[in-house]
Amino acid sequence: MSDSAKISYGKLITNGIFSENPVFKLALSLCPAVAVTTSVKNGFLMGVAVLFVMTMVNITVSIFRNLINPKVRIPAYILIIATYVSMTDMFMAAYARTAYREMGLYIQLIVVFAIIISRAELFASKNKVVPSAVDGIGMGLGFLGALVLIGAIRELFGKGSLMGVSLVGQNPLLIAILPTGGFFVIGLLMGLFNWIEIKRGGNPSSGGGHH
């Protein structure tokens, strides 16, 4: 029993990272993906924040899934999400001040991420605590990975550095850290993911582009 449970946990995690990657495949919660990925560090911090919120929300919703009245579940989920986001916001303002100055607004916007509320509704409300937590972690890691990847590309091309360590000369391709570059990088990465999917014989999501 525990063996098959382990396997499905692993699957939950890879699901979040690959086949249902929130950013590249589901095209959900893109807003911050473009905004904060001007460097690896920022992308990483935002990813961690989302990972935290998603996992905690999934856990909380799962624990109380039988106590939350179905008729008010959406407002309830929103409240829970808003609470964790507010907590993250307060922590960052006190303990990660430099990062907070750059991304403070976007951290607060985690509240409207459709991915979080959709996971809560689709998964956490119907499953036990541990699977829900793992699902949250999986999706969160997918998000984190996507942000770090985009951040790395943009920082490398835009500033010639990675994590603040200068690798190439000055500002090789400045446009990469401007908004335009952000859109381009994500568009190209999405195209890449789709191409990989086609090669594997699957059908790429032509993305309805819901939030």
């Binding site: 939350i68 009245n69 407002p75 309830a76 829970i80 922590f91 006190a94 401007l178």
Partner: protein, 186 residues
């Protein structure tokens, strides 16, 4: 009706719990945040006026429509100069500044506290070599010039508007200080 009460109270409980948790988090993080903000400001002020042993806020003023402050720097009880917080309208953001001014209303140093100028171009306003261009400048020389100049402020090539923004902010700071000193509310 009964149903109505059930779902409302259900939601109310969740609200109340959320509220309590947030209040608790607030209570524990806010003091830290406030303390750190004060520390950062103190460090910035000290950085501009290293020999001063006391830098006190003495007046609230408005620059570019925003709340700013005039600080008096003293050493051993004697007035050595002033620091004025200011804002200058840059290319794509309001640039937050601290301007150190001596008793003759001449700029001694400038610090850029915050901005959102263009990376690679406008963000060079935080570089030492640009900030140094304000040293020793008095009011008449706080003008931006595009070519080489020692008497006026030389613009960063490719970032004239950002340079102008900072200069404007510095100029406004000096003017505000002058006005306050003449007004005797010092």
């Amino acid at each position: 009706m009964n149903d109505y009460i059930k779902i409302t109270s259900n939601l109310m409980i969740i609200c109340a719990t959320a509220g309590l948790i947030l209040a608790a988090t607030w209570a524990s993080t806010e003091p830290v945040k406030v303390r750190k903000e004060a520390q950062e400001l103190e460090q910035a002020l000290k950085g501009l006026m290293p020999q001063a042993d006391s830098i006190q806020a003495v007046k609230d003023i408005k620059i570019a429509g925003k709340e700013c402050k005039i600080y008096e720097a003293k050493q051993g009880g004697n007035l050595t100069g002033f620091v004025v917080s200011s804002y200058g309208k840059g290319y794509s953001s309001y640039i937050k500044l601290l301007v150190a001014i001596d008793a003759n209303n001449t700029v001694t140093a400038v610090d850029v506290l915050g901005h959102a100028e263009t990376p690679g171009l406008g963000d060079q306003i935080t570089e030492g070599w640009f900030k140094d261009r304000f040293k020793g400048k008095s009011l008449e020389h706080l003008v931006v010039v595009k070519g080489d100049t020692q008497t006026d402020v030389q613009a960063i090539s490719g970032a004239t508007i950002s340079s102008r923004g900072v200069t404007r902010g510095v100029k406004d700071a000096v003017e505000a200080l002058k006005a306050a000193r003449e007004g005797g509310l010092k």
